[in-house]
Symmetry: C2
Subunit: 677 residues, 2 copies
């Protein structure tokens, strides 16, 4: 087996080894492994390593392989304790052990299943279900959700919220979100049901303990509530097959996790939390980004009624984009010639566990890359845009997120998020027809509450080197005066970000955030080489500044954050988000450093840019029972980085290669011919 | 020959007929035909017609076919006069004749060629060229531009600005924009050169008459300035072929200009000015939009130095998106199975002139439409998004614009604009290295001035009928009080637009513009059925409010305009934009109606929504010598219009139909195998 590259995720044998080292430390104790993952090498070591690698010099040394391990175990007090260990995989030693009092690791599906079982076994829950007087053959589904801190509980104890739904049909894939029940249960880390109660059924109501039967008037046609093909009666047959053929194979080359395509090169990483990560991204062998990753996402719900303020998911920190990544299927999740990447996680007992096909890599045609027709000669030159897509899809209970990096021939990178899946629903009274101002009725007695999706893309810049600056550029009208007598002039004004902080977008000024290398001046434009962020314009967090939501998701306050690079500062809401109390996020980190005098200038330094974007998702009924993808797109584009259009050398499009078909009325296929008879 | 549908563009025989009727009116006069185009029927007639059509009732009558004709002719004063005529094509009569004093029609390429020839024949111009002492074999190219009103001339006379470039290489497609010369000439309607002078060569300089030779230090490598494949030395060969195969043909059905695809139906229109127009757009036989079109675009330059304030193109009103539409080529401009539409324009003498392949229609795969995995059963259901694209591409001198409507299975419509082509350049001193605040140096001595592209999409709504309202919805945090004790609640607040006017976007409030039919309430959500505009967030016009630019392009002041429908109110900067003086745009129309008491409520009325969007384009060197497509995307989405996801019936994706290929290291083709030897 080849030596792993320092950016490669842990191999199965490394996972085994790390578990062994940890087990030997806890002999005789019942250790449960939450995480065994790569601890990425310090950047300063990696820079030297990568420099040698790209100059094809022999490596004098390779950064040590290190695992970051999270375990839980019963402490002598009987409480579950979380320990974090760093394991040197070369020397089989523990480098660091930290006992994390009051912190919780991510939730795992095994635990969630235990919660469900405990819930359904509880006599009070069973009693409430009995009182619902459900239709025959209907079954109850428990949906456990992590608990968003609302100040109502002792946060050192983990609590799980259990929501209840009715699966009306016997089909295992029937959409139970169409029948939210008004039962709610709370359950402790030790699987003890601590509370059972009934949810409010109207905006005026509170949670209560009056048992009410399920209102059967809510039962409605499957045609509007089911998404599974076996439950949908009339699938459209009008969509004819569409296939992608790449007769000479794809244009990419892959060696392990190293990917080369067109002039791009980068390494594919993957971990339980962020899912897909990209490392050492270069174009034409010039360094652009050290690392790109989705660093967090937060989905707070806008329904103010208790206990709904506890619905606010950190889908990365609490759930894990890696663990919840779908096993992608050929012909379904992508089209064309597809390379799949597997990943490895671990079981509770510390064995390696394969996560198959969690990332797919393929090419797409993206329309016209550039075109010009010389109107004098009538000669058109047109090139088509080929893009490389790296995609991963996660399921977090009801929702799906499709994350994709698009690499373009013109040296731009797009990061696309698509939100799909099923809306999270809550029960409401049948026939209540006053408009509920924080939700949409999507089916009889079914409220889909408003919510936000706030993503944070972490951009670890390396624009022609590690020392970068952020410049904020605005386009501004010139005053109407003698230097601008016709009032048409406008100019750009720039200022550098000197200190760490959060920044807002300003459409009226076309405010643009550029990452530049001040030491490298473009010889033609005479400006520093750079890239720019093309943000996805979004409303920021709506929750009150004093709410736990706001304190816990500090990155949701501003669209752009700039920090100085620090190893392990990867998460804008902190490493341990589960039931966090706030104050562990990016704003606090910046403030604490400023207060302690630790903050240095971010000018000409190793810096990280964080982009917060997302959607204020006030559901439409068109999002029901399954939501058509809602697309969000961010991009990173060179700005005076190269000496010209980087895609200038892309060959013109020709029919010889593209083999398109001219449509004439004659070739519409049997349907059309038949109609002529 | 079948009877044309009332929305069909004029047929060649109708163009002939209209010309004949007009000619007979001007016997013995030298009439030059500028435009012979369909005058679309009054909407009130069309609504009745379409109602019969969709109910498959026999038509009691068909709206008369009418041509709108613009001609120029020499008046007895010797001046060129513009006349507009409406011709009844059934009765061969002139319905209306208007003499348009001081107005100008669009520019035509024949005239532009005459301008070029006149310019190059002029002794003063020739003298200036001689003084440039150009390199041997180099030639001079004249680029005539329409004149943007700057208050310096009597606007009743048409003036054309002539810019000069050097074609250094003998190749006919050499990129002359790489060598802007400092000569400028102005020419009259009668092809008389009225002024010749030298352009400023630095920010401090003014126009002058000092002849200076061309600075040969500006001559640079073709590698960075040429886009034509014959002049680009090393084309990349890494991009392997990528083909789209539709074994059963496309999913669309086309009969004449009627298009049916998935559940969509609409009619394709085309005219010399707007280019592609769409009519009577329905989904599942429910009316959505009466008409969709790009109604204007304005490209003002930000260089304040005279005469550059005259660079501000109305690419529709002055040039014509239809006339300048590219002849699209199979395998180049689109991929897959392509239907092309031709259009007809007219010659100066009134003969029909074919504009071949001006619109292409094809399907694309657009990734995942929706997906959900039931994490309990592990069953994933995924559907792929098929879209229908109608695309047209225009060349306006240096620039290209790619306009495309995308129809989606989920009943949304996207309007995509891609800007590509070549930057408009002006000369500047060689080696001047102070940053010029209103432009980017893209090659030695070549300045690409900042400019804006402002598009206006005209949305003639017909949401389940003609009587619609616009509602402005905002998402707003609830105050932190007893009804929102955790500070997480947020609500939407809506207000109806009551009067015609212009409106701004507000990101901080997630302000959303909805088009609703208040009379049709969604029975499930209990809200009026509607569609929403998902705008392209853009900076508005930067030019000073008192400038001619602002007065002439009023629509550039606000992102959204709402007006009551009026036949023939199609253009937000007025019908005759060429050297217009301002005050003929949408803001003035609204103001005039308000002042005259003519303005009625736009609530529950036949209304039109206009969306202004675009880009503040401060060139990057990466846009040179040809610009990678800059994408702008607007969309229209149903919001509580249907009873659920309109794409719920799309069949799941299967490998059986999609026939993707699993990539393994073995199938990378000959390149890879060779490297293993």
């Amino acid at each position: 087996m080849a030596v792993p590259h320092p950016f490669d995720p842990l191999t199965p044998s490394e996972i085994n080894k790390a578990a062994e080292v940890v087990r030997s430390r806890y002999t005789g104790q019942d250790v449960s492994f939450k995480v065994i993952t790569l601890k990425e090498p310090p950047k300063n070591e990696m820079i030297a390593f990568l420099d040698h690698e790209h100059r094809q010099l022999p490596h004098q040394w390779i950064p040590i392989r290190c695992a970051r391990v999270e375990i839980t175990l019963k402490a002598t007090t009987g409480e579950l304790e979380l320990h974090e260990l760093h394991v040197n995989l070369t020397k089989n030693t523990v480098l660091k052990l930290e006992v994390l009092k009051g912190k919780h690791s991510h939730v795992d599906s095994v635990y969630m299943k235990e919660v469900e079982a405990a819930c359904m076994a509880d006599p009070r829950v069973r009693d409430e279900i009995r009182k619902l007087e459900l239709p025959p053959r209907a079954s109850v589904v428990v949906e456990p959700w992590t608990y968003a801190t609302d100040g109502q509980n002792d946060m050192s104890k983990r609590v799980t919220m259990c929501w209840f739904y009715l699966r009306l049909l016997e089909h295992q894939d029937a959409n139970y979100y169409a029948y939210p029940l008004d039962i709610c249960a709370e359950i402790s880390e030790e699987l003890e049901i601590t509370r059972v109660y009934r949810l409010a059924s109207s905006p005026d109501e509170q949670i209560h303990n009056e048992p009410r039967p399920f209102d059967r008037r809510k039962i409605h046609s499957t045609a509007t509530s089911e998404y599974h093909p076996e439950l949908r009666p009339n699938l459209r047959t009008s969509t004819k097959p569409y296939q992608v053929v790449q007769p000479e194979g794809p244009s990419f080359k892959i060696g392990g996790n190293q990917l080369n395509w067109e002039k791009w090169s980068f390494r594919v990483g993957f971990n339980y939390r962020e899912g897909l990560t990209l490392h050492d991204i270069r174009y034409d062998d010039r360094s652009l980004f050290y690392r790109l990753s989705l660093s967090e996402m937060f989905v707070p719900y806008g329904d103010p009624r208790a206990p709904y303020p506890r619905k606010a998911a950190f889908d990365l920190g609490n759930d894990g984009a890696g663990i919840n990544a779908n096993n992608l299927k050929l012909g379904c999740d992508c089209l064309g010639t597809i390379k799949y990447f597997d990943a490895w996680h671990n079981t509770r007992s510390g064995e390696p566990m394969k996560l198959p096909n969690v990332v797919c890599c393929h090419e797409q045609d993206d329309g016209i890359l550039w075109k010009h027709t010389n109107f004098r000669t009538g000669h058109a030159v047109v090139t088509r845009s080929r893009i490389l897509v790296l995609q991963t899809i996660i399921t977090v209970s009801n929702y799906e997120y499709i994350f994709a990096f698009h690499f373009c021939q013109d040296a731009s990178i797009y990061y696309e998020v698509r939100a799909t899946g099923i809306l999270s629903t809550v029960p409401t009274n049948f026939g209540e027809d006053a408009k509920i101002p924080y939700g949409t009725i999507v089916a009889p007695g079914v409220l889909a509450p408003y919510h936000q999706h706030l993503f944070c893309l972490r951009i670890d810049t390396a624009i022609d080197g590690q020392k970068n600056s952020v410049s904020i550029e605005e386009s501004e009208a010139m005053p109407l005066d003698e230097s601008n007598p016709f009032g048409v002039g406008y100019v750009t004004k720039s200022r550098f970000v000197e200190k760490e902080g959060g920044f807002d977008l300003d459409l009226s000024k076309a405010r643009t955030f550029k990452f530049v290398n001040e030491a490298k001046v473009n010889p033609i434009t005479n400006t520093p080489v750079g890239f720019k962020l093309m943000p996805f314009y979004s409303q920021m967090l709506l929750a009150d500044k004093n709410s736990f939501h706001a304190k816990r998701s500090e990155y949701g306050q501003h669209a752009v954050w700039v920090t100085r690079y620090r190893d392990d500062e990867l998460f804008p809401s902190g490493r341990y988000t589960m039931q966090s109390m706030g104050g562990e996020g990016i704003a606090s980190a910046i403030q604490n450093r400023a207060a302690s005098g630790e903050q240095e200038s971010v000018r000409n330094s190793d810096l990280v840019v964080w982009h917060t974007f997302g959607s204020t998702h006030n559901p439409r009924i068109e999002d029901w029972p399954v939501m058509p993808s809602e697309k969000m797109m961010v991009s990173l584009k060179p700005v005076n980085f190269f000496h010209g259009n980087p895609s200038l050398d892309v060959a013109p499009s020709t029919q010889e290669k593209n083999k398109s078909i001219l449509y004439t009325d004659e070739n519409t296929g049997p349907g059309c011919c038949a109609s002529k008879l």
